[in-house]
Structures are given as C-alpha cells and as structure tokens.
C-alpha cells in the first residue's frame, strides 16, 4: 500500500486505449487509476488499483461511480488561432450564398488573413487561449494548431510564436504546424507564392524551431499536387514532418502524394477512394476525418470504411476554424457515429489514441510518445471524467457537454464543468508553471499608467503620486522628487522581522501582486509587470520576513521586501544559485536591471495584502484538491 497524489475510482467504464483491431477499444469496467507526479501510476479494476493505492491515503480522490473515464481527447487538426469575425458568413451561407459569392462580397479566408496580420502577438495568444478554454471544457487536453492565416513570413512566424506562448500559458498541450501554404494571397501567382513559402517562410520557421509539422492545402484551384509536393518536401528537409489537406472537395491525388511522402497524416479525404485508403494504410499515413466541417458546411460526409478496411487507424478532429465553430471532440464522436456510421468504440479510439498517432512525427517526440490518448502506467495523466455511464452513451448524447472533470498532467483543470483557473495559480507557485502577461492586461496597464501621467502633467494634488503618505498626506512633494519619494517609501517600509517565508509563499505573493497590477487600477508602467513576470519565470525569490508589518494598509512590510529586490536592493534567492544574493545580483541572474521607480509605483507595489492573499490562494488550491 502506497501514498499517491490522486486516485480515480469506481468508473462505470474506463477507456484504457486502442484494442487489437483498428476498430477496437480496450475498456475496464469498474475501473480505477492512480496518479503520481502527473503520470499514471496504475490503471485497472477498482479493486486492484485501490488495494495498491488506497483512496484514503491519496492526496485527492475522484469518485467516478456511474461515469466514464477516458484519456483526454486529442484534437489532431485545428485552425484554432485566428482573429476577426466572420459570423456574417454564417448567415450568408444559410441564405444560400456560395463560397465564391461570399468571397466576391468581401468575405472568406482573406478576412481572417487581414485580421491576423493586424493583430499583435499578444492579441493572438489571448485569442487562442480563449478557444483552448472551450476545448478544455469539452475534454481536449492535446491539440494541433496550424498557422496559415498570415501568408507572409512575419505573420506566419508571429502565429507560431503565439502558439508556442499559448502552449506555455494553457494546460492544453499544443502541437504547432506551419501551414504557409494554406491559401494563396490575393493578387499573387501560386508558383511564386510556393517559392516564397519554400525559400523564405520555411527557413525562417525552421530557424526558430517553432513548428513540428508542415501542412499544405492540396486542392483544385489552391495548391496542385506538384506544388504541394514542393512545399512538403521542403518542410521535410527543414525537419518538419508532412501533413496534408487532401481530397476534400475534389480528388486530385493528395492522398497518393501523402503515401509517396510517408506523411504523418492525410486529412479531410471526403472524395478519397478505396484505392487511396489502401495507399495510405500501406504507407503508414494516418487518415484524419473531420466530420464537423461537413456538418457546418452542409457537405456530404467522408466514408471511413475504405480506410478501416485497409487496416489504417482512423483519426478524428474538429477542424475548428472561423467557418467551423466546433470545439467539442465529444460532438465529433457523436457526428462520426450518427453521420459516418462509426461504432462508438472506433470513434472514441479515433478521438484519442489514433489522433495522437496523427500527431506523431515518428522521432520519439510528440504527444504519442508522452502517452497522450492512452491511460497506462507511465502515460501523462491527461484524462476526462464524463457524467455518462459508457462510451456508447457519450456517442449518443449529441451536442451537450457532459464532461465533468478534466486532469491535465495530473492537475485538476476542470471540475463540475468549470474551467479552474485557480489551480493554475497553484501551478505557478508550486510547480513553476510559467506566467505570461496577456494582451488585454498590457492594454489595461498602459491605460492606467496614462492616467497617472496626466495627473503629474496637470499638477493636481493626488494622494500617493505627489503627496506624502499617511499623516503626511497634506505635504505636497515637488515634481523633481516624485521618483525619490517612491524609492524612499519602499526602503522605509522594508522593516520586517521573523522567519523568512517559504519559496511557494513568496511565489504566491509575486503572482497575486502581478495579477492585481494587471487589472490596470494601479498606474504602474508595463516594465514593472514585466519584471515581476520575469522574476517568477526565472525563479528570483525575494527574501521576505513573515512578521513586523505596519498593519495599517495591508502587508506593507512583506511587500516592501519584495519591492526592494525590484529596485536592486534587499536580498533574494535565485533558483540554481546557492545561498542568497543581493537584489541587483539576483536580478542580473535573470537578465534584469534594477528598476528606477516612477511616481506611484512604490505605493502600487506595497499597498496590498498579497501575503494574506497568497496564503489564501494556496489554501484554496489545497481545499480544491
């Protein structure tokens, strides 16, 4: 009997992974699973697992009685990163307009391309994270995301950089695909554009190492087979494994090309034949079907039988994009059964293990290598608990979200259907999950700083900016000494005593102060929040003493010790460095320079309750466990 982080027990059905044939699934009835350090430690019948890992000795238990537990969904094909709004096209399509008519009326992909080109990287990260929240709430823990709305080097790189940052910020694991050959920019010759993709975009992407796959839209009127081959072969030369949009609206040979190139996957395949199915199966290419696209656009569905008959494992994905707003893999499973005739076990398999297979570059990296799509000893503890008694019920419950609980790498990220962001705070404080300043937060911070600047310019007396503090409120501080005032404030309040706070508590203080400043009510400069974020991400932890505060306006003394390091004074511990360093040395370890505080910033840094709030946040995280 052993202690363990988490035990899920009593599941009416627990999906372990693929069964023998490409249509089969392996299930355990009355199943259980133990999690340790973010990985599955044991899986099997409840009696067996609970004998080895008794729930009463687990840090947390999830009673899955009457429910289905399965690997977190893997969504192997999305264009989830986009900007702009094309909802008007939804109405136009209902009114019977064709895509050509919509394009002629100024709609279609060019609208998204224009919006993405105008969006900042921060905006793109925020936009992607919003989509990922919805996907996570529906049980997806791994997703591929493609570039391809930039169609120029700069924007394609910005999209891929945003995907990389969203991957760090969000619990959904992302697989980045470069898809410069998604469409041909307006007024551009296709051959010339392909040359640009191959000679300019691809080398730039490869140099930054921010894509794992290369994808091409091989379709009549877009990129023909030769152009597609050119793009994918160049991708392979740069270390990007090939994927392909093949035989969607017309059968022009994309499937055969995928087989020739040994592509990782061939996607869409609405027009593919039995011959294509055999070619893909023989070449080990994973056919990837996207029934939500057919659903959203009112097309015929792909026929899965040629692929399964040929012995190919079949992956399923959402194809989430600006004209197919389907985030839900459970809905894709239902569609696959109801409209494509898949049996539920084949659909679940296609949405988990075989979808991971469609994201496997074959070099031992990637989600499949990490165990995505399977629950077995040693795999990542990515799983969903669904409030239905079997995978068949899941398939039958169409269009409703019955996902109750989601774990990502063993962390509880969805509970009772609610995406838990608090848990991520625990992740930052304890597990060193990285933080990022969102684009919205940057905007708020900038706007609030402008208000401080306008006060200074106006010469009005405003507390904390150009007055003394506390009882000295009626003292007016001359303009040329406003900066010094803030430095003095921090120094004078750094008078704590008692034991030094634990690392996780200091991190919780840094995080909650950063969060408060990011609301944009405090008037600090952007550089202040950036410094705090860097300190968290680089592991710079001020030495803060636990008692001795003034107690009048919150945790003044502990926060002053924290702020002291920001200005290069005081002391701090730095991850990977023995002993304590002086504040300026600690900052230097993180590549930061001491801040010269601007008006109001000292006050904004120390006038808060982040020791209390930080401790409370950790208590809430513990309570939720």
């Amino acid at each position: 009997m052993s202690d363990i982080d988490l035990v899920v027990h009593g599941a009416a059905e627990l999906v372990v992974g693929p069964g023998e044939g490409v249509r089969d699934l392996e299930l355990v009835e009355d199943g259980a699973l133990a999690v340790e350090n973010g990985r599955v430690a044991a899986v099997g019948p409840t009696d067996d697992v609970c004998r080895e890992y008794p729930p009463e000795r687990a840090g947390k238990t999830i009673d899955a009685t009457g429910r289905t537990v399965l690997p977190g969904f893997v969504d192997p094909h999305t264009h989830a990163l986009f900007a702009g709004d094309r909802s008007d096209e939804f109405v136009a399509r209902i009114e019977g307009k064709t895509y050509t008519e919509i394009m002629e009326a100024g709609g279609g992909i060019p609208v998204t391309v224009e919006a993405v080109r105008e969006a900042s990287e921060d905006d793109l990260v925020d936009a992607l994270c919003e989509q990922l929240d919805v996907m996570l709430a529906h049980g997806t823990t791994t997703a591929e995301v493609k570039s391809g709305y930039g169609l120029d080097t700069e924007t394609e790189l910005r999209m891929l950089a945003a995907i990389e940052r969203a991957d760090r910020r969000h619990p959904v694991d992302l697989v980045p695909t470069f898809m410069g050959a998604h469409a041909v920019p307006e007024d551009t010759d296709t051959d010339e554009y392909v040359d640009g993709v191959v000679e300019e975009q691809l080398p730039a992407v490869a140099e930054q190492g921010i894509a794992q796959f290369c994808d091409v839209f091989c379709e009549a009127g877009v990129f023909d087979v030769e152009q597609s081959r050119q793009g994918l072969e160049a991708g392979t030369e740069h270390g990007l494994a090939p994927k392909i949009h093949a035989e969607e609206f017309s059968r022009i040979g994309g499937a055969q090309l995928a087989a020739d190139l040994g592509a990782t996957s061939a996607d869409h395949l609405l027009q593919a034949t039995a011959e294509d199915g055999r070619a893909l199966a023989d070449a080990g290419v994973v056919p990837t079907l996207l029934p939500a696209t057919a659903f959203a656009l009112g097309e015929a569905y792909a026929d899965p039988e040629p692929f399964l008959d040929a012995g190919a494992p079949l992956a399923l994905g959402t194809d989430l994009n600006p004209s197919c707003f389907v985030h839900s893999m459970p809905f894709v499973v239902s569609l696959s059964c109801l409209r494509m005739g898949l049996r539920p076990e084949t659909a679940i398999r296609g949405a988990t293990h075989d979808a991971a297979l469609a994201l496997d570059p074959g070099d031992g990296t990637g989600p499949l290598a990490d165990g995505a799509g399977t629950l077995a000893e040693g795999t990542a503890a990515d799983l969903a608990v669904v409030d239905l008694p079997s995978h068949v019920h899941m398939a039958a419950n169409a269009g409703t979200n019955r996902v109750d609980t989601v774990l990502a790498d063993g962390d509880l990220v969805v509970a009772d259907g609610e995406v838990l962001r608090g848990q991520w705070a625990g992740g930052v404080a304890r597990d060193d999950a990285p933080v990022e300043i969102s684009g919205g937060a940057r905007e708020r911070v900038r706007a609030s700083r402008e208000r401080v600047a306008s006060v200074i310019d106006s010469d009005r007396a405003v507390y904390g900016i150009n007055t003394g503090f506390g009882e000295l409120v009626s003292e007016r501080i001359p303009r040329d000494r406003l900066d010094q005032l803030q430095t003095n404030l921090v120094r004078s309040h750094a008078s704590g005593a008692g034991a030094e706070l634990d690392r996780e508590v200091v991190r919780a203080m840094l995080l909650t102060r950063l969060q408060a400043l990011s609301l944009g009510y405090s008037g600090v400069r952007e550089v202040v929040v950036d410094h705090l974020a860097t300190m968290l991400n680089q592991g710079v932890h001020p030495a803060v003493r636990s008692t001795g505060s003034l107690g009048a306006s919150g945790d003044l003394a502990p926060l002053a010790h924290l702020a002291l390091v920001l200005i290069g004074e005081g002391e701090a511990f730095v991850d990977g460095v023995d002993g304590r360093l002086a504040g300026d040395e600690a900052l230097a370890e993180a590549g930061l320079k001491p801040l010269a505080l601007a008006p109001k910033e000292g006050l904004a840094l120390i006038n808060g309750t982040q020791l209390t709030v930080g401790l409370a946040a950790l208590a809430v995280v513990d309570a939720e466990r």
Copy 2:
C-alpha cells in the same frame, strides 16, 4: 437611483423578445437588465439601466461585456422523464437496423415502459432531476415534460406526480403533459386502449390536477386521426389543453385535426404541407419543430417555411427522449439554422418566446403569462448569459456549450458553467423553496437504520445506542430503556441561553441537519427525515437560543432545542400563526405527530454542528452573490 438585487450590464447583445414579424427578434446592443425579487425591474441600454440602478448599489452584478444575454430557453417538447437504458439501440441503428428490427429484438419503447413501470416515484423524480441539471447547464429554465411511458393509470399518475415533485425540487420550471396515448401497450387493441385512456386514465389525472396539457401520437400504425380526436377532446373536457404529435413519419391529417380542435401546438410536422401550415396559422396553433430528432435518427428535416410564410410563430424543442439524447436548446438553434435554414434570430425566437407560446393554455396561466421567453419589465428573471458576442455566434457555435451563467427567477443557478446547488440551500433557508427527500437518500437512510437495528438485535455494546454518553460510556443501558435514553438526552441538552436565532438560521440548521442525516451515516428512521422535511416545507421553526452549548461535540444545545420540537416538546414558531406554540401544537399545525425517538435518534439529531454549518452555508451563499 435605487438599490436593486442584481444588475447584468454591458451585454454585447441582449435579446429582449420577439420582433414584429414571426421571423424577427428584438435586440439591444450594449444592454443591461436589473432584477428585483426574482423579476426583471428594467431592461435596456446599459447607460439607461445603470443610471436608474447603479451597479455599485446592486446586491450582485454580472459584467456581460462581450457576451450575449437572452431569456432562459423554453423547451416545449420533451419526454425527459424515463427509466432504463436503451443505448444498445444507438449501436443497432448505426449498424443499420430498422426500428421494426430493433422492436423484434426486444428493444424500442416497450423497454422504457417496462423500466418506468418498475421504477418507484422517488426513482423517477431523481432521474428527471438528473436530466434537468443538464438542460439547466445548457440554459433551459422552462421545460415541458410528458408522461406516456406508463400506459396504465397507475404508472401515468406516478409519472405526473414525479414531474410535479421535480418541478418543486428543481429550478427548471416544468409544464406537465399527460400522454397516455403515446403508444399502444403490447397485446392491446388500440380502440380499447383509447377507451381506457379516455374513461380511466384521463379522469384520474384530471382529478389530481397534475397535468396542464394532453398529447397524442397521431401517426399511421399508432393512433389514427379519429382515435387522436377522441383522446384530445376528452382531454379538453377535463380541462387539459390539446397538443399533438402530427405528420412525423406520414401525413395522415394530424395538423388539420390540431387546427379543428384549436390545439395549443402541433409538433414534429416533418411531412406537413403548405396547406397544413395555413390551417395551423389560421387556427392559432403553434407549429413546433424538433430537429434533434431528425438529427439523431438520420431523417430528413422539417421545412419551416410553410409555417412562417403562413404567419405562424414557430416553436423549437429538443424532443429529449431515450432515443434522442439532446438536452441542449443552443444545439437545437444551431441545427435549425444549419439544417432547416432558419436565420439565427428566428431560431432564437423559436427557442424562447415562441416556445413559451407553444406552452400557453390561453387561460392566463403558464410560463408565457409569467413572462418566460421574454426579458421585459415584470417578467420572471429567467435568463442565460452566453460567452459569445451575438446570437449569430451562438447559432454558429454548434455542439459546444457556451452558456456561462443562468438565472432562474433571479437566483444564480449556473455560474462559470457549473450548476450551483449551494444556491438552492439559500433558497430553502430564505425563500422557502421546498425540499424533497430523494430516492437515493431514502435508500441510504433505510440501509443505515438496518445497521442500527442489527446492533440492537445482536446485543453488542455500541456507543450511543445501548451505552451511556460521554463519561458514562461504560454504563450499559438495558434494552427496554433505549428509547427513553434518547428522549432524556434531548431534554437534558436543551439548555440554551441568549437571543433566539433568526428564522433563516433555524431553517438553515434544519436543512443542513436534514442533509447530514440523508447521507445515511446516522442510523435514524425514515420518519425522522420526513418530519424534518415537513417542518421545513410547512414552516415549523423551533425556538433555538444562540448560546450556552456544551461545546464538546458540536452545537449540542441549539440542536437539542430543535430536536425537542420533533418530540412534541419545547417551543416553535409556525408560519401564519402569531406568537409561539408548544412543540406538539406546532407539529399539529403541519399535520405531524410528535416522534417517539428510537435508539440512537436523539444522538443523531443533536451530535452535529448545524448552527455553525447553517451560518456558514448562508455566508457562502452571500459570498457567491
């Protein structure tokens, strides 16, 4: 400027209700809404509403920036109350089996009928509430529920009684429909069965007053037009307004019958013609389309145009039933747009106001009269906040749940996508929402009482059952004095002092003690939990003093004052009666007799912390507001 319970503000779009034509919707951009006492106090542009009701003076605010606010969905056609499991038929249908083949293999409606006949009323209430939870999470606040899986008087009555009880227990408002003529029981002549429905089932239903509508499955091979007419006319005579399943698989004249009878709605209508549309429109019958059925069964969809062209408002519903597991009205909206060609505004209108119209018996009662489906001054504050910027985005986001927040009668019942049951505790303590003992709780209570009984029989010494208490633990109590022991325990601990607790605190104590006993760890008899539930529902509130407890094992003294009333002693206040009554008189007002406590029950009643827990529960409710 006025204080107000709740303000929702900044909605990118706020759906007010129907527009001028039957296809139109009235919207407010940047909309807000104020709620007082469970009803809408004001609705309009944020600036206007917030000028009159400043958010900072509201008890709670919901910032709906970037989101859509709309009336809670009204689902006008469900068979949401069922038992048993027919998920195997889902697989059989995928394999291409026809309904006849499924019936011959022992499947189909008879499976549900058999399971419902075997289910207890408690089981049925629990089963319905589980479905209602899912519907509520997807934004439904009003739903029709049909009987029709009993097909005999006793079971039809039990179904309707369960619907009535679920309506009391659950925040979704229910409209009950009697549908004895849903199918013909096996080995029964149809004419004879219709006679039984008319002569036996209907009078029994009418006598109990537990149905508002009468519905018939008018279909080739089920009930023909004459049989349907007979059933519906008899319903009308008994005060049940007519509804009809018409022209679903074959056009046999159900729509015309609906027009002749002036039915409230005619439902399904897949085979209806333009002539039918005009007949329904002229007769004021609401055509009700159920696209999820076509989706689940792979049929062609109904054509909405004949009805709209004829000027009829069009209602949309889920038809949730054991072979159509669709709970989500947002998904029905998406299907209606994508597959039936409705514009989003027409679909939203059909899922809200016009659905309420399909549940309007025309006598000034029912959800429409209460304002369901519309947000205007004076309507019930039933609404959903959807995390999308417009109703068009809602229609385009298919198969995902984007409902963020739901209010039912002004109470927050879904927040961040999570169904909030805690809020219902506030409803019981403060707003006198009724309580019910679930079937599962009864089972647990009975099982736990059996364990106590077996201890008594075995003559083993077990603390609290046949021993003294506290320091007297080593005293063995003779079997014939075990009951007296419990009475003495309650009397001796009823020694509180200080101010009397507020009504809401006493109710919170009663509720939380009831909840604790219902877990089935305390060994009380079922009659004890029933008495506590009746006290709550009938407004019997023991006089409990706030201080003076022993403090050793929880809130012994306050709980003893509460228990004293259960045994007909002490004092209590009764709603509607002036002053205080003796315990036995208070019980008599609620139709209860004093309990003679059985072994362990006194201990089970007083050994808890329900004063503390009750206060904490109210604090949590306040915090969530």
